[in-house]
């Protein structure tokens, strides 16, 4: 899986690349419009992450060029501008998702994964982690082959964890993933806790191992280690 990160802020580009590389993606970066333009002509990518404001050009143009060259490439826009017009325009010219800065790396990662899943397999793929199997199309979860009934939020939570295996997810990022930006955080952190508690209980009931760990009180980690 090849991912191109078009972002002029070097530090941010580096963080994204690091994070994505750990997830097994092959990441390349472009910090200017020209560099990005060159790269999409030379190579094929599965997914391109584009910042809209670049020092020497407009991110929209890159997306337009990209869509002409290879329409199957997934596009995620990351922008400091939280404007509806930009979002609509992005969708119109063929981008798949829009994230407003500042965003969580885990959230970006989850979106890239789900995007690639949709693009490559039309969603007809199961997500497996040990004894847990998730069928994203039917939104069904099986543990040890047994159907496990999860609430909508618990399902979203599980999927978010499965997209970020062995990574510490902050409580805030989980809350924002589940409820969006608009919820008051004091309440949402409490609710995150109760959802995690329920999810863990339901997975354990079906004989799953306990993969959920609280980390330093700052967040949670899903994984073997």
């Amino acid at each position: 899986m090849k991912v191109l990160v078009v972002e002029d802020e070097k530090g941010l580009a580096e963080s994204i690349t690091d994070y994505m590389s750990k997830e097994g993606y092959l990441c390349e970066t472009a910090s200017t419009f020209r560099e990005a333009d060159e790269r999409i002509f030379l190579y094929n990518y599965d997914c391109v992450i584009v910042d809209l404001t670049l020092p020497d050009g407009d991110g929209f143009q890159i997306i337009q060029t990209l869509k002409k060259l290879l329409a199957t490439t997934g596009v995620i826009i990351i922008s400091a501008r939280n404007s509806l017009e930009d979002k609509i325009r992005g969708l119109e010219i063929g981008s798949d998702d829009y994230l407003t800065k500042p965003f969580h790396l885990s959230e970006l990662n989850a979106r890239v994964k789900s995007l690639i899943r949709r693009r490559n397999f039309g969603g007809h793929t199961e997500i497996r982690f040990k004894e847990i199997v998730v069928n994203p199309l039917a939104r069904k979860v099986y543990v040890n082959g047994q159907l496990t009934v999860l609430s909508r939020k618990e399902y979203d939570l599980l999927l978010y964890f499965l997209s970020n295996i062995d990574v510490v997810l902050t409580k805030v990022s989980i809350a924002e993933h589940l409820w969006g930006d608009n919820i008051d955080s004091a309440d949402s952190l409490d609710m995150v806790y109760s959802h995690i508690k329920n999810l863990r209980r339901k997975l354990l009931e079906k004989g799953g191992s306990d993969y959920l760990r609280s980390v330093y009180g700052i967040g949670y980690k899903f994984g073997e280690s």
Binding site: E9, G11, I16, R81, P102, I183, A186, Y216, G217
Partner: protein
């Protein structure tokens, strides 16, 4: 009071006094002249009378045609000798009407005996003359007064027209709009200078306003990227296994602070955008339905805080708003009502078509309700609140013809939205 009304009033009062005074003086002068004329004629008649007495040595009252003209009465010797003019009324012989006369009384000796002689002259014609003159003059002065009053009104109306024009333009002037203050160049120097000064001031104000706005917006945008960087680095940092508990706490603090800053920044940016009127595409939105929908969405939070919602079949409350702002308005209202509630509290949504309110139970307000809608006013100051929610609500309402009102009643806190009456 309007300037023109004021000058007109002063002018009218002043002219009235002058005209009254002039009329009175004129009347006195005419009267004086007529009396003088009559009296000199009476003196001449006295001479004629004395001449007649000297020649005829006697006086007979038989001069019939001269009505009451000369009256001779014998008098004692003790009486006063000086001649004297008086006004008197004498009955008309035929129709019994009283007629004004001027009478000269003097004493003279006829046939060795002292007599009092009164010579009279009718004033009826003179009075008629005075009357006619007075009426004519009053009419003329009245017409003159009305005429100058009308002329004065027209003139000052025209002279002050540029001033009123300027005034109305300034009233309509909108600091936030892109159109500069447009003023005429009137003939009159003072008004031209005034307009010049006002135009310069308007331009300067608009420029300052714009640059302030741009600054806020640019600053907010520029802040987003470093914040994204901080977030990303913190997220990477916490992946490390070797952190001590203290370090984690520091990191958590950094993380929280950066999240808060991001929220704050987004709030300020939204406010700047609303002020700049960057949201277009108004649509008809039923706020009551949208609020009910939002409350449904928040069911989980409501359940978590054990809040119950009362919302009976509400009448739609339709407003013209851009969708993102309607969302923001509704969200901030709901969040506010939830945040300042206590566990097991209640919420109520009521709409009667003319106004819409969302009420919540909660502890009494500690800050001044008047200042509730100001930026960074925090009630209870939770660490997560940035204090912009109500400011955003107010800004949206102010910019889209709505009015937001806060009221506290029996432990209920209500935020009422109503339509602003159409401006005349």
């Amino acid at each position: 009071m309007k300037l023109l009304a004021k000058t007109n009033r002063i002018y009218l009062a002043f002219s009235l006094v002058i005209y009254l005074f002039a009329g009175l003086a004129f009347y006195q002068v005419v009267r004086f002249l007529i009396y003088k004329e009559v009296e000199s004629r009476l003196r001449v008649e006295r001479l004629d009378f004395e001449n007649y007495i000297q020649i005829h040595r006697a006086w007979s009252d038989s001069t019939y045609f001269i009505e009451n003209k000369i009256d001779v009465v014998p008098a004692g010797s003790s009486v006063q000798k000086a001649e004297m003019f008086i006004d008197t009324l004498i009955r008309n012989r035929y129709d019994n009407e009283l007629m004004p006369f001027r009478q000269l009384t003097f004493y003279t000796t006829i046939q060795g005996k002292m007599h009092r002689v009164a010579i009279r002259k009718s004033l009826i014609q003179s009075y008629q003359l005075i009357e006619v003159i007075t009426v004519t003059m009053a009419a003329c002065l009245g017409l003159l007064l009305l005429g100058t009053f009308w002329f004065q009104g027209k003139l000052s109306g025209r002279l002050w027209h540029p001033f009123y024009e300027t005034l109305s333009r300034i009233k309509r002037f909108n600091l936030a709009s892109a159109t500069p203050l447009q003023l005429d160049k009137p003939e009159i120097n003072e008004f031209r200078e005034l307009n010049e000064v006002l135009r310069k001031m308007g331009d300067k104000m608009q420029q300052d306003y714009r640059s302030l706005k741009e600054f806020t917006e640019n600053a907010s945008h520029e802040i987003q990227t470093p914040l994204a960087l901080i977030n990303a680095k913190v997220e990477q940092l916490i992946q490390s296994e070797k952190l001590t508990e203290t370090q984690t706490r520091w990191i958590e603090d950094i993380y929280q602070a950066s999240r808060r800053m991001a929220r704050l920044n987004q709030g300020l940016l939204l406010l700047a955008k609303i002020e700049n009127q960057q949201f277009t595409h108004n649509q008809t939105i039923d706020l009551a339905a949208l609020l009910a929908e939002k409350l449904d969405d928040m069911e989980e939070v409501l359940h978590h805080k054990r809040l119950s919602v009362q919302s009976q079949n509400n009448i739609p409350f339709e407003v013209q708003l851009p969708m993102p702002l309607a969302e923001s308005l509704v969200m901030n209202l709901v969040n506010n009502a939830i945040k300042h509630n206590y566990p097991d509290g209640r919420l109520e949504l009521v709409s009667d078509g003319n106004q819409l309110w969302l009420g919540n139970t909660g502890s009494p307000l500690t800050t001044n309700p008047e200042r509730l809608f100001e930026r960074f006013k925090k009630e209870g100051s939770g660490p997560d609140s940035v204090g912009l929610g109500l400011a955003i609500i107010k800004e949206i309402c102010d910019n889209y013809g709505l009015r937001i009102r806060y009221e506290e009643h029996n432990g209920w806190h209500r935020f009422c939205i109503s339509r602003k009456p159409e401006e005349a």
